[in-house]
Amino acid sequence: MFDRNKDRQPEKIETPAPVVAAIDNSSTAYRAPAAATGKSAILGATIRVKGEISGDENLLIEGHVEGSVSLSAHELTIGKTGKVHANLTARTIRIDGEVHGDIAGKEKVVVSSTSNIKGTIVTPKMTLEEGARFKGTIDIDPAHANSGTGFKPATDKPATDKPA
């Protein structure tokens, strides 16, 4: 049959830039969750969030967050420009930036030399990288590594400023 539209290009759906965008730089309008691609979602350096963040994929925070972040089965990274006043819960947590709050890594917490942390870390396995300096409390219980059982996050309360 006669089709008047056969030479037209399919319309692209224009969407506003998402607050949380996948690292994948493909130009497709629809993005699969980062977890499906094995990559991390990014909260960019100019983004400010006040409230609760939870999800089912990996997340890299380069912006400012105040409240709480919970990715119980995934990886959370606080990038070098990240400033987080929040309690953090994730399977593994890497901190390169600034965190004021309690940190619960169900499998592992890695603290790098560029980090600045005030708070308590609870995890079965802790790595303080060469050159990193930490002020605060670290609760380590290797018996809970990889089991996920009996793991008790430091607290579920929103983070508040308090002495380390």
């Binding site: 396995k125 802790m126 790595t127 303080l128 990288e129 060469e130 050159g131 990193a132 300096r133 930490f134 002020k135 605060g136 409390t137 670290i138 609760d139 380590i140 219980d141 290797p142 018996a143 002495p163």
Partner: protein
């Protein structure tokens, strides 16, 4: 006894051999969680060392408290001799307030091991007494401690950061900030002001530091 063994590790850090630390750690092997208080910052080696056992590590970075020491203004009228005791008491209380603010732990906290490193050498007599009193609520009858005591003021052993690399090895890094005031004292004078601790064993190192294993009284 002189301890002469010194090494450098692959990262260029100085490594001090210690025969006292294994004696301190051995009786704590069964403590779970092991409660450790470190006056300094947490560093890679210390976290790595304790990381394979259940423990709670408190890193207090107390050297920050030494910046801008408290200044006591004399209430003595001009022309009269100041009252030294009054000044000392006021200084003690000012330090006590400062250390209590810095040492805020959960109620019921009792440390098994206190890693004091060389911190005591940066405290004048009143500050030393205040530090010991501020720490006392968090120590128990089984608490052990480790400290380096400066006996001679000309020893080149100040402004360093310590970590526990192995039971018998303590790592040392230079710190990049101005050296705070320091106080060389004999062991007996230090322990006389450290309420709650006595020296269990001590070893005089070649570098002029007296390594001391402390135990709760």
């Amino acid at each position: 006894m002189l301890n002469t063994a010194e090494q450098f590790d692959n990262s260029g850090r100085q490594v001090l051999q210690t025969r006292l630390m294994p004696d301190l750690l051995e009786p704590l092997a069964g403590n779970s969680p092991l409660m450790v208080f470190d006056v300094g910052y947490g560093v890679h080696e210390t976290v790595e060392f304790f990381g394979n056992r259940r423990c709670r590590l408190h890193f207090s970075a107390l050297h920050n408290c030494l910046q801008a020491p408290p200044v006591i203004r004399s209430k003595t009228p001009f022309g009269q001799l100041p009252d030294a005791d009054e000044h000392d008491t006021a200084l003690y209380l000012a330090w006590l307030d400062r250390f209590r603010s810095a040492l805020q732990f959960e109620p019921g906290t009792r440390f098994d091991l206190c890693l004091l490193w060389d911190f005591l050498n940066y405290l004048d007599d009143q500050a030393l007494k205040a530090f010991a009193d501020a720490l006392a609520p968090f120590t128990g009858p089984q608490t052990l401690g480790h400290a380096y005591i400066l006996l001679k003021s000309d020893a080149d052993v100040l402004n360093r950061e310590y970590g526990l690399k192995a039971a018998n090895q303590i790592s040392v890094r230079p710190v990049n900030h101005a050296t705070p005031a320091f106080f060389a004292r004999p062991q007996a004078r230090v322990t006389s002001m450290m309420k709650g601790f006595v020296v269990k064993h001590s070893v005089l190192r070649r570098d002029g530091l007296l390594e001391a294993a402390l135990k709760s009284t």
